[in-house]
């Protein structure tokens, strides 16, 4: 990779010196936090929070393809968010409604 190409990326208006790069990049932290929480017992998951994560992921996935220019970084991070949210929702619903365990809302 030539030095000028790297320089062009570095100085890009949506590049690593700008918030347009770091805000969408950090959004991956939400999906990473959710993946870390895959090992949490389903009683401790929050329906409102996982629904918010899933809904945001789906809506922003759609909108990142219709803005100008299309932002594939934003698209991919929101697809990941929707995916982790759906997985967590599935775990909690399966625990609360499809198994014999008692759905625990309060602390044990």
């Amino acid at each position: 990779m030539s030095a000028s190409k790297l320089q062009a990326l570095w100085n890009h208006p949506a590049g690593p010196k700008t918030i347009h790069f770091w805000a969408p990049t950090f959004k991956w932290g939400i999906s990473i936090a959710n993946i870390a929480d895959f090992s949490k017992p389903p009683e401790k998951l929050s329906y409102p929070q996982q629904i918010a994560v899933t809904a945001t992921g789906i809506i922003w996935s759609r909108y990142s393809t219709v803005i100008t220019p299309k932002n594939w970084n934003l698209f991919s991070v929101n697809v990941a968010m929707a995916g982790t949210g759906l997985y967590q929702l599935g775990r909690k619903i399966r625990h609360d409604y499809l198994s014999d365990a008692e759905p625990a809302v309060a602390k044990e």
């Binding site: 939400i30 929050s46 994560v53 945001t56 922003w60």
Partner: protein, 107 residues
């Protein structure tokens, strides 16, 4: 009515994606407010800390993006407050914010 019509037709109005994306993000604020009523053992430290950093970054993003998006800014300012509060509840329940060391509960 004229200002309402101006809003409807504005570059960040409800006919544009710049409106509905931020509306979706208010879901995090609502979820946080609902979760404030629940016991702190249910709070995810990972997710809440990630939200605090995420909303701080997106407040800056909303300010710098063209066109400037005040709805997104308000949404993330609110979320920052809610998530910081939840983080403090989580930290207190974990024993990070208490004086007595033997009261620290393990996760």
């Amino acid at each position: 009515m004229a200002s309402f019509r101006a809003f409807l037709n504005s570059p960040v109005g409800p006919k544009t994606t710049h409106f509905w994306g931020p509306v979706a993000n208010w879901g995090f604020v609502v979820a946080g407010l609902v979760d404030m009523q629940k016991p702190p053992e249910m709070i995810s430290g990972n997710m809440t800390a990630a939200m605090c950093i995420y909303s701080a970054l997106f407040m800056r993003f909303a300010w710098m993006v063209q066109p400037r998006n005040y709805l997104l800014l308000a949404c993330h300012a609110s979320n920052e407050s809610v998530q910081l509060y939840q983080l403090s509840r989580w930290g207190r329940a974990q024993g990070y914010l208490s004086e007595k060391k033997d009261e620290a509960s393990s996760q």
